[in-house]
């Protein structure tokens, strides 16, 4: 009988634990092993960039051990290690992601591969072919579709906002379940809707906590601030660099600038770095059903991702005189075009770089945000940063309020925080425990958390038995809890609750009737039938709730208990009452004999 089962939880590699870097989580639930995300760390250039998969299984094949892999969204800190994992370490099982993620993820992977291998000349990295082979293992899922991974394991995706195609996943085995949020945001932005989940009451909610303590000021304020800064810089003839990831923030900020340029009738050019981003807008057009309500409603009249003012960037433009705004990838200034432009513009104090998202340690983005103004570049070259550096948090992560809101929506029994910084998480943990009275965990990297669940056991009850019981429950005296009696038949893995009679019948067994007959001696000189009448009246007076009957043949029944009177063979003044009942009436039978033993009350006549 499964009584207690547990969820086993485990973070792989620096990241999913208490550090923003790479996400990779292993969950064992009722014997099924699921890997959640397969991210890489952007701050490292060596082995540490990928999770250490030997944690999962030392010897055996990953395919044998893992039942499936789920990718929450296309950011590289959530999917960057996927080709390494599936093609170089070796995994052939199913990988689940949403359609937009499946479409966009290989493009980001290829872009990332190009930067690392082609530009930096690194070897021992996955190849284009590996990305293709990896993507062949991907199964695309719809929102809210229940995907049956195998007979017992099912998964379901919920809308997460954050970026196009981002999803939260529910993983369910029997009546035990885990929800993994990936990254999400609880407020709709200019291009995406808010995350939503139903009251699915998971045993465990694994939530990101990037902005665990921040309660961010209103989005409108930040947007106005951003536009003001861009506008001022452009007005004084400066250049604005906005390092972004190709998809996500880029589109939101483009919509913002496009409408602003339109309104203010500005002439300074806005560029998109080549390659990725143009294509990215195309994905947004085709997957418009994943964007927010407003964009979806108006897309026939005007597709918000067709920009009038924003044009493709050419490398040569960076040296053009005069003001301009450039969106360039990648977002943390750690490589590629954004870094190239940054190096060109950094020396001029008229220019500005706006970092619209979080930067991991070790990246140029992180360095300048923490105030460093002299950077050592490749080849011992020192780059002096004179341009203005601004940080604007546009990352679409849930803040503390949003995280609490999601917990309120899903009503989990336990919460586990990942993808955040230890100190902030501690604060949030206390808040969650106080407000929701649930356990909250924040495992360190590589740590295992075990959560015991105590599920109720579903069984099949025969309709006959259930109807019999509910019929009793409908009686007027239904306030008292009624006991139901049945027999649970356990065969193979099926549990069936049937009436005892049916259980006997099914097993081909005969009932054994156990009957008792007690002789109760009563002092009563009257004739037998008079004695019987006295007994009858007495019982009827005492047993008000029972059916007491005087039968024509001279016997008395109380429910199914039979009482007959005979004269004593020797003593005329004594009558013998034979009280007879079956084992099923044991309580009442036993009670009756003791009642009668006390004798009959003195008759008033």
């Amino acid at each position: 009988f499964p009584e207690i089962s547990y969820l086993f939880f485990f973070c792989l590699g620096a990241g999913a634990g208490q550090d923003v870097g790479r996400s990779c989580i292993l969950v064992s639930i009722a014997g099924k092993n699921v890997m959640l995300d397969c991210g890489m760390h952007m701050g490292y250039n060596d082995d540490r960039r990928f999770p250490d998969f030997s944690y999962i299984t030392q010897n055996g094949r990953l395919t044998d051990f893992l039942d499936c892999v789920i990718i929450s969204h296309f950011h590289l800190d959530h999917c960057g290690a996927l080709p390494y994992f599936s093609e170089m370490v070796g995994y052939d099982g199913p990988i689940y992601m949403t359609h937009p993620t499946k479409a966009i993820c290989p493009i980001l992977l290829e872009d990332y591969r190009k930067i690392t291998v082609d530009k930096k000349g690194e070897t021992n990295f996955f190849t284009s072919q590996m990305i293709k082979d990896c993507m062949k293992k991907v199964v695309a899922v719809h929102l809210h579709q229940t995907v049956q991974v195998d007979e017992e394991l099912e998964i379901k995706a919920y809308y997460a906002g954050h970026v196009l195609g981002a999803a939260m996943f529910q993983i369910k085995v029997g009546c035990e379940s885990v929800v993994y949020t990936g990254d999400y945001n609880m407020t709709p932005d200019r291009h995406l809707g808010a995350a939503w989940i139903d009251k699915c009451r998971p045993d465990l909610l694994i939530t990101e906590s990037t902005y665990a303590t921040t309660i961010r000021d209103s989005k409108r304020c930040r947007e106005r601030d951003f536009l003001k800064k861009v506008h001022e810089t452009v007005e004084r003839g400066g250049k604005v660099l906005i390092p972004v990831f190709a998809l996500g923030r880029a589109q939101e900020l483009c919509i913002l600038l496009e409408t602003f340029w339109e309104r203010m009738n500005l002439k300074a050019p806005i560029y998109f770095s080549t390659g990725l981003t143009e294509k990215a807008n195309h994905y947004y057009k085709l997957f418009i059903t994943w964007t927010n309500q407003k964009i979806r409603k108006t897309f026939v009249q005007r597709n918000m991702f067709e920009f009038k003012h924003i044009k493709a960037f050419d490398r040569a433009f960076a040296d053009n005189p005069g003001p301009m705004v450039v969106f360039a990838t990648p977002g943390m200034l750690h490589a590629g075009q954004s870094l190239q432009i940054f190096r060109k513009w950094a020396g001029n104090e008229k220019n500005m770089v706006i970092m619209p998202g979080y930067c991991v340690q070790g990246t140029v983005g992180h360095k300048i945000l923490s105030g460093q103004r002299k950077l050592e570049m490749e080849g011992r070259q020192i780059l002096e940063v004179k341009m203005q550096v601004e940080y604007m948090s546009f990352s679409a992560h849930a803040d503390a309020k949003g995280i609490m809101q999601l917990i309120r929506q899903a009503e989990p029994r336990n919460v586990l925080l990942v993808h955040g910084e230890a100190k902030k998480m501690e604060f949030l943990k206390q808040k969650i425990e106080q407000e929701f009275h649930v356990n909250c965990y924040m495992p360190a990297n590589g740590e295992t958390t075990t959560i015991f669940t105590n599920p109720s056991i579903p069984v099949d009850i025969s309709l006959g038995l259930l109807k019999r019981e509910t019929a009793i429950g409908l009686l007027p005296d239904a306030k008292k809890p009624k006991l139901m009696h049945g027999t649970l038949i356990m065969k193979d893995n099926s549990f069936r609750l049937v009436s005892p009679e049916q259980a006997l019948k099914e097993l081909g067994l005969a009932e054994h009737q156990l009957r008792f007959t007690c002789r109760v001696h009563i002092q009563d000189p009257r004739k037998e039938h008079e004695t019987v009448l006295r007994v009858y009246n007495h019982l009827k007076g005492v047993l008000k709730d029972y059916s007491v009957q005087h039968l024509p043949d001279g016997s008395i029944t109380v429910e199914s208990i039979l009482i007959q009177a005979t004269a004593h063979s020797e003593d005329q003044g004594t009558k013998v009452l034979l009280v007879s009942w079956t084992y099923q009436d044991e309580e009442l039978g036993s009670y009756l004999t003791s009642l009668l033993k006390k004798g009959l009350p003195q008759s008033s006549t």
Partner: protein, 658 residues
């Protein structure tokens, strides 16, 4: 379990299922063939139509000549076209809890149901179904509302009058129930009651029933539905296709193990092969245009038109038609073309792969870009400036009674150079053409109906093996015009149960089990006993709680201890309450061992006598008698409760409890 059949139209079904404690409406199709009895609504004043003679009865009376007009021997109602609604009297439609929509063609009666019957429930449909359904409704409302008709004929509906009319008016059913088209506010109100769902999404209804839409392969977002509880499964198959066109393929596997399979929406033209029809469509189109004629294609604004445009995309260059303009005219033409490109997840694999590139899934994007295909909201405005002949025009409505198509019929009908090609299978093309006769224009009938044909159905049924099949009566006999074609009907074992409009069916199955949950504390307290190898039993005495149709068994509460020190209560208070029933017993008592046990427990004078059926064990001193037989034991003793209880427990040791 009952099924109320509110529509007699096999491809525009409307059924209500009473399943467990829920009332579920399956589709609400609107039968528009009723409009064929009406005169077309011309966008531009048509001298021909306005000069049609009024109809005169055989006896010469003319009281109907304002309402009925005659054209080439047929009689038409000169009034705003009306539709035949699903039955509304068979059951109280305000009791319907949910409506499940299978595809956008099967939701056209929705505003009539949600806005006129007191309906307060929820409608479930996929996103493409809702978006395209909205477009179809918008087009319908628009094309009727923009041609206001002063007169509304009702005299002819009088039963006494109707009897006197010629066929088919004479035989039209329930004309008193026919209704005018709904309005846009009603459409919006109806659509606001829809909740969007995705394929394979499990939707719980009141804890009692789970419904799940499955891909049906027929149209964008089209679905079949599974309606199930833990123990019974009804599959509702409506408008499914096994052909590879643009939608996601049909999910057949999930239909397996159904107790009942309700089968509707099969092909209306079982003898026509859709591929062959598309070929014929292309060649007729090319021939007409080459000869300098125009081609008119009456169609819905979504669906097969996407496939036709895709075929033409591949065909026009090779056929030398690249300079011929293609026009798509509908108030929703632009929306339809745009929407088709954004439902990647609902498309077949090939089209999905295109989106991953990223490219638009349908090639009509390119036709528009290269100006080969132009779309207009109506014939007024830009179109009249751009209009060049010869050309190809796609426009609605396929009934030829309203919409821009009426104008083109009037415009092109007189020339034999032009061709009208019928591709939609919903209307008889001869009936559609009747009010335009006499006609010089060529008429080609290439109905393209991709829904299941009878061969596919019989294969499907063999594959998924439902216990019972329920279908409209039309599918249980050959088509009336081809009564020898016994292959054009459903053939399965047991034979299908058939239904017709306004009938109530009792669905044939019996439940035997229900799901119940045993709380962990109770489960811990159970003592399983292995009775036979692999079979264990445990007796359960527990408290049953039922809430929201979910049953839970809990540990019975501990009996409250009587407060200590209180005086012994009166006898009547001691009457035992309804205590847990004692278990049933089974097994038999081996006499020898029983006697040994008695002796072990201090009974020294045990005597055993054999009887016909068993034994009698005597305890002489205690004057106690124990009759032991194969299936019973009877203890007869004096009123010595400790002794009786001792003997009882010794007997019980040998028996199994249930």
């Amino acid at each position: 379990f009952f099924q109320y059949c509110l529509s007699g139209h096999p491809t525009l079904p409307c059924n209500v299922l009473k399943f467990k404690s829920t009332t579920i409406m399956l589709d609400c199709g609107l039968d528009m063939t009723s409009t064929l009895n009406f005169l077309p609504l011309p966008l531009v004043q048509s001298p021909r139509l306005s000069k049609l003679p009024g109809w005169v009865l055989k006896d010469g009376s003319t009281f109907l000549d304002k309402e009925l007009k005659e054209c080439s021997g047929h009689v038409f109602v000169d009034s705003v076209p009306e539709f035949c609604l699903p039955e509304t009297e068979l059951l109280d439609l305000s009791t319907v809890d949910v409506i499940l929509i299978s595809n956008y063609h099967c939701m056209m009666a929705l505003p009539y149901i949600t806005e006129y019957t007191g309906f307060t429930g929820t409608v479930y449909a996929t996103e493409p179904t809702v978006q395209i359904g909205r477009l179809l409704m918008e087009e319908l409302v628009n094309s009727i509302e923009r041609v206001p008709k002063a007169q509304s004929a009702s005299m002819w509906k009088n039963k006494e009058v109707q009897r006197l009319l010629p066929a088919p008016l004479k035989d039209a059913v329930e004309v008193s129930m026919w209704r005018k088209c709904y309005t846009m506010p009603e459409v919006n109100a109806a659509l606001s009651k829809i909740q969007l769902v995705g394929y394979s999404q499990k939707i719980e209804l009141f804890g009692a029933v789970q419904v799940t839409p499955l891909s049906s392969g027929y149209a964008l977002g089209s679905s079949n539905w599974i309606i199930q509880s833990h123990y019974e499964k009804v599959s509702y198959v409506s408008g499914s296709s096994l052909l590879t066109t643009h939608p996601q393929p049909m999910d057949q596997a999930s239909l397996k193990n159904s107790d009942v399979l309700i089968l509707t929406g099969l092909t209306q033209i079982p003898t026509a092969n859709p591929d062959g029809m598309v070929g014929e469509f292309c060649s007729n189109l090319a021939m007409t245009v080459r000869n300098g004629g125009n081609v008119l294609v009456p169609c819905y604004p979504s669906g097969v038109i996407y496939d036709l445009l895709e075929c033409l995309y591949q065909y026009i260059d090779s056929a030398g038609l690249s300079s011929v303009p293609f026009y798509f005219i509908s108030p929703v033409a632009n929306s339809s073309l745009e929407f088709s490109q954004i439902f990647a997840e609902w498309l077949c694999h090939n089209k999905q792969t295109k989106v991953y590139l990223p490219e638009p899934p349908f090639p009509h994007a390119e036709l528009i870009q290269t100006n080969k295909l132009k779309h207009y909201p109506s014939i007024h405005g830009d179109f009249s400036n751009d209009f060049k002949q010869p050309c190809v025009v796609f426009t609605g409505h396929p009934s030829l009674r309203f919409g821009d198509v009426v104008h083109f019929m009037e415009l092109w009908g007189k020339s034999s150079l032009n061709t009208v090609i019928f591709t939609e299978p919903d209307f008889s093309y001869l009936d559609a053409l009747a009010p335009y006769q006499p006609l010089a224009m060529k008429c080609v009938y290439c109905p393209i109906d991709t829904r299941l044909n009878f061969i596919q159905v019989s294969k499907l049924l063999k594959e998924v093996q439902p216990l019972h099949v329920v279908c409209p009566e039309q599918y249980t006999q050959p088509p009336p015009t081809q009564s020898h074609r016994t292959d054009l009907m459903i053939d399965c074992q047991p034979p299908p149960m058939s239904y017709r409009r306004a009938e109530v069916l009792t669905l044939p199955y019996k439940r035997r089990y229900e799901k119940i949950e045993i709380m962990p504390e109770l489960a811990d307290s159970l003592v399983p006993l292995e009775i036979k190898p692999g079979i264990s039993l445990a007796t359960v005495s527990a408290v049953l709680h039922t809430k929201d149709n979910k049953h839970v068994l809990q540990l019975p509460p501990k009996p409250a201890q009587p407060p200590a020190g209180k005086k012994r209560k009166r006898v009547s208070d001691d009457v035992p309450e309804c205590k847990p029933l004692k278990p049933l017993l089974s097994g038999s008592i081996p006499v020898d061992q029983f006697v040994q046990t008695l002796e072990k427990h201090g009974f020294s004078d045990v005597k055993v006598e054999d009887t016909a059926k068993g034994h009698i064990v005597l305890l002489q001193e205690a004057e106690t008698l124990i009759q032991i037989e194969e299936d019973s034991t009877h203890i007869i003793c004096d009123n010595d409760e400790p002794l009786r209880v001792k003997l009882r427990d010794l007997v019980l040791k040998f028996l199994q409890k249930f």
